[in-house]
């Protein structure tokens, strides 16, 4: 392990790494490896080696695998190196940070050693030098070093104050001033405590200054919990200090992303600490103040970030849906355990007479013959309701329970009678039904744990688990395997009657009923608020929530894809039928077509705002067509073109000059055809809509290069066919197809000449 300058640093680090791995694998090697490494990482070594060494020391002194005894010997042997790393190394934050962390782990161990071995002044001098060195570089050091200094100070405070014995007994957390005898030659408890108080003040300074350096604030807050809990002399100071700290001070500064992170972090960390304290010690004398502080923080945070409202709403919804679980349980418990001093029952429930009974008799509890004969159905229903409501309101719970139990027991008796009668029929030796719960499979041995992550972890869990196990158990043998087939009660095999055959008419009727039910929810579903529309891009899920948009996605997919791959098989049959009287769409696609038809109607009902739905739908159709084509099946029906044309025709009827949505529609649907664009020509007959048609085409020319030629062709045809559209069309054409108009003019002129010539010839 000796360092030789001949070995390159990379190689040395690799060797050190291997040594570390050995120690991790077997803790017995720790002592030897740490001591062997010490000369390699001394003050004269290279920076890489020192960094590695400091981090290895920090890891070794903190490792939970070593016992306190092993750690003592290890710690005492590294003090010298640690001291030199801290003193020699002014310039590397990583070395300092790790060395101070190592010192923080070493401090309580050395402290304990000195308590029991007061002769060992050398160790005490070393650790004292390390301590004063760390406390000296604390101020003005880079942030990571200061972090470690905070933690070091916390360990010193922990060791030098009196414990209440509530801490865990590991990692040296239990080493405290209480262990120091009053007459210790090296350690004076009063001086120790005074030093601890001073250090604590220094630690808390960052809170008192209301610092906005979240890193230091968080680091401080996150190591205070154990002090408050286990070092009573510090807790008042710390709690007061935290309660006066305002983590939201940054709210007044500009809300940069970083500031938001800082503020959220400090607020949440402060709140977590306070909640942790409250939870561990609900009877804390500061409980009320802490509660108030936490609530105030949460309110301020909600105001600043304006996000709590949303969360609350969700919680309320959940409560409305599932009910208040806790309350239900309480109520159940109350009714299950009636008061100990139940009053004497004034109601006497007479036993039923033997023999068959009417249902009315079972529920009749009085033996007054007059009342028994009274027919309650004579009373009007509203009157009955009033009487029942009032009676239930004033009725003693115990009386009601008693009466209900009476009726229940009567029912039990009747049931038992029926069963005995049945049993008499049943052949001897009929199997007893296996117990519903097999106790052997039941226990799973889950002990309760006190973590409040799952607030309603209780006995219900066990039932859950039992059911789980039962699900897994081999199926219970069916009863009829045991039962004698000749028994009067034996059941023969039961087969469902075959479903009635469906002919095409019925199928199409049912399809349209089904389709109309698909559209049912649309009217009641809410559209998402305009503010909440978050753009998720490709991460968007088709239907995540139950709102109108999601449902429409479902509907369009039902329309386009639900019978994908089934249609083409039907197609030839239809072809064959074509000569017949009725040509009917194939059976499999009736549902689709019905849904499409309804979707079409739905869009046209209010087509301007629903143009998005139309685009979405056509995109789905197009996609589906592409898939169909890829399957390569002959004669497979393609739907995109048909429905795009129908939709466009539908809009055309209603279109006005202001309907820019047309432009958008044409721009967004996945494929344009000559025929589709040809429909625009009808708009050109009307001077009002002429501009709109031409703008839409121009937009396509400019923004959709793949269909540019198509669109220009259409403009050309418009130029030819519509006289009044010529000026505008010519303008576009001269820009995008220079020379075309002139060419056409010449062509027309030539035709005119030819025509004229003909005319002249005829005239002549």
């Amino acid at each position: 392990m000796a360092s030789t300058p001949a070995v390159p640093i990379g190689e040395q680090l690799k060797q050190l790494q291997a040594a570390r791995k050995l120690a991790l694998e077997n803790s017995a090697y720790y002592d030897r490896i740490v001591k062997g490494v010490l000369p390699v990482i001394g003050p004269t070594s290279s920076i890489e080696l020192k960094r590695w060494g400091a981090e290895f020391l920090a890891e070794s002194l903190a490792t939970p695998v070593l016992s306190m005894r092993d750690k003592e010997s290890l710690t005492l042997s590294v003090l010298d190196t640690l001291k030199s790393l801290l003193e020699g190394e002014q310039d590397d934050a990583i070395v300092l940070k790790a060395s101070i962390a190592a010192a923080a782990s070493a401090y309580p161990v050395v402290f304990r050693w000195i308590i029991h071995n007061s002769y060992h002044t050398e160790a005490w001098e070393q650790i004292s030098a390390i301590k004063s060195r760390i406390l000296r570089i604390w101020d003005g050091a880079p942030a990571p070093v200061r972090l470690s200094c905070i933690k070091f100070a916390q360990r010193v405070v922990l060791a030098q104050t009196t414990s209440n014995g509530q801490e865990a007994k590991y990692g040296g957390l239990d080493i405290s001033l209480g262990m120091v005898p009053a007459n210790h030659p090296l350690l004076d408890p009063r001086l120790m405590e005074a030093e601890a108080t001073g250090l604590l003040d220094r630690m808390l300074g960052v809170l008192q200054d209301n610092s906005s350096d979240a890193l230091l604030v968080d680091a401080t807050l996150n190591c205070l919990s154990i002090l408050i809990r286990t070092r009573p002399s510090t807790s008042n100071r710390i709690i007061n200090c935290v309660l006066n700290f305002n983590p939201l001070k940054l709210a007044n500064s500009p809300m940069t992303p970083k500031n938001k992170v800082l503020m959220k972090s400090m607020e949440k960390t402060t709140r977590m600490l306070m909640i942790n304290i409250l939870k561990r010690d609900p009877n804390n004398q500061h409980g009320g103040r802490i509660q108030q502080y936490v609530e105030r923080l949460m309110r301020s945070r909600a105001e600043i970030f304006d996000e709590a409202g949303r969360k609350r709403q969700l919680a309320d919804q959940a409560a409305a849906q599932y009910g208040d679980l806790k309350r239900q349980k309480m109520e159940g418990a109350v009714t299950a355990a009636p008061g100990p001093a139940a009053p004497v029952q004034p109601v006497v429930i007479p036993p039923l007479a033997s023999g068959p009974q009417t249902l009315a008799a079972v529920f009749t509890l009085t033996d007054n013959p007059g009342l028994q004969a009274f027919d309650a159905t004579n009373i009007p229903a509203n009157l009955v309701a009033k009487i029942v409501a009032r009676t239930l309101n004033t009725l003693d719970q115990n009386v009601l329970d008693f009466a209900v139990n009476g009726v229940r027991s009567r029912l039990h008796i009747l049931q038992a009678a029926v069963v005995t009668a049945a049993a008499q029929y049943a052949a001897q030796g009929a199997a007893v039904q296996p117990a519903a719960l097999n106790p052997a499979t039941a226990p799973l041995g889950v002990e309760e744990d006190d973590d409040d992550y799952e607030p309603n972890l209780d006995a219900a869990e066990d039932t859950e688990q039992i059911l789980n196990k039962l699900d897994n158990a081999p199926p219970e043998t069916a009863l009829d395997e045991y039962a004698d087939p000749n028994a009067a009660l034996g059941l023969g095999p039961f087969t469902l009657p075959p479903p009635p055959l469906i002919d095409a008419d019925v199928a199409s009727k049912l399809s349209s009923v089904a389709a109309s039910r698909v559209f049912g929810p649309l009217s009641s579903l809410l559209t998402e608020g305009p503010g909440k529309k978050a753009k998720a891009g490709i991460n968007r899920l088709a239907a995540l929530s139950y709102d109108r948009d999601s449902w429409l996605t479902v509907v369009t997919r039902l329309a386009t894809r639900s019978t994908f791959g089934l249609e083409e098989q039907q197609q030839p049959a239809v072809k064959a039928e074509e000569g017949g009287a009725v040509s009917r769409p194939p059976l499999a696609s009736t549902f689709n077509n019905a849904t499409r038809e309804m979707l079409f109607t739905y869009i046209l009902e209010d087509w301007r705002p629903r143009i998005e739905v139309a685009v979405a739908w056509l995109s789905e159709e197009w996609y589906n067509d592409q898939l169909t084509k890829r399957m390569g099946v002959q004669n497979a029906p393609l739907h995109y073109e048909t429905w795009a044309l129908r939709l466009l025709d539908g809009f055309m009827t209603f279109i006005t000059a202001q309907d820019k949505v047309l432009t958008r529609f044409l721009a967004e649907i996945p494929e344009l055809s000559r025929e589709l664009l040809g429909r625009l020509k009808t708009l050109c007959g009307d001077p009002n809509t002429l501009g709109l048609a031409m703008t839409s085409l121009l937009y396509l020319v400019m923004m959709r290069p793949p269909v540019r030629e198509l669109a220009l062709d259409t403009v050309g045809r418009i130029w030819v066919e519509y006289e009044e559209a010529r000026p505008l069309a010519a303008k576009y054409l001269s820009k995008w197809r220079p020379g075309w108009v002139e060419q056409q003019m010449q062509l027309q002129a030539a035709q005119a000449v030819a025509g004229g010539g003909n005319g002249a010839a005829i005239a002549a």
């Binding site: 890891e59 933690k151 996150n222 970083k258 891009g537 991460n539």
Partner: protein, 263 residues
């Protein structure tokens, strides 16, 4: 591909090693932060993150903070419940497959468990984790390389209450190791799609953090200590909130919380 959420991320954060489509990428070597992902049951979100980070060559381990491992069952009131640390992914897989293969394949559980059993043995509970216990016997775990020391530099939780549970647990432990750890929450909804998005976001965050940490390591000597103020001097720890702030701008749908805690 993903234009809105996170495209800028891979462009700006990891110019050196752009993530490929399936997450595999070349190991650039050098310094690496050690990660720990945490969700409720150590099944979906933390495991997605575990896998993604491991594929991106980071040392990573993962935990759940729940009292038990809970997976959806046939109805909302009949979850499948298992114990942490004692049940392997493989045994859960086989059990569910025996119960109702159609249901559990359709809801993605078997797929998820199949993935998980190739990552590590079984779900582990955060509260039972002995921080600093060497993890040398776990060579087959994905992301094992570099995790031998059993500590992490960054803990990423996938839900606010998991973050709360982690912080609360660390406060209770009393920080015996004196080791600083950044605990970052990313709110990810518990479904397969969101977990996948969250996994990508985690790798983006890890890349951004690691880049900053690497820069700190590369500064040697006086440059690191007394070279005035400004971003050039700022250490890794100081720059974490800044990195998270920038990350948050790229992933606005995954609200994040951060603190510096102690192991």
């Amino acid at each position: 591909m993903d234009t809105i959420n996170g495209n800028a991320a891979s462009a700006s954060a990891a110019p050196a090693a752009p993530a490929q489509q399936n997450g595999h990428r070349e190991d650039p070597g050098g310094f690496k932060l050690k990660f720990c992902t945490v969700c409720a049951s150590n099944q979906n979100r933390s495991m997605e993150g575990h896998l993604r980070l491991a594929l991106a060559n980071y040392p990573v381990i993962s935990f759940g903070t729940g009292s038990l491992v809970r997976l959806p069952g046939p109805t909302i009131t009949q979850p499948n419940v298992y114990k942490f640390n004692e049940t392997s992914y493989d045994s859960i897989y086989r059990e569910l497959e025996a119960k109702d293969p159609r249901l559990y394949r359709a809801n993605g559980l078997l797929n998820m468990l199949g993935r998980n059993r190739n990552i590590k043995w079984g779900p582990e509970r955060w509260q039972d984790w002995q921080v600093g216990m060497p993890r040398v016997k776990k060579e087959t775990d994905k992301g094992f390389e570099g995790m031998e020391g059993g500590v992490a530099d960054i803990v990423i939780t996938c839900e606010e209450r998991c973050w709360d549970a982690v912080i609360d647990d660390l406060l209770n432990r009393g920080s015996p190791l004196n080791r600083a750890v950044h605990v970052i929450n990313i709110d990810i909804k518990d479904n397969h799609e969101e977990a996948s998005v969250g996994g990508r976001a985690m790798v983006d965050l890890a890349d951004s953090l690691n880049k900053v940490a690497k820069e700190e390591r590369e500064k040697v000597g006086a440059a690191a200590f007394d070279s005035g103020s400004g971003a050039g001097r700022a250490s890794f720890d100081e720059r974490v909130p800044e990195v998270i702030g920038e990350w948050q701008e790229r992933w606005p749908n995954l609200p994040a919380t951060w603190t510096l805690a102690w192991f």
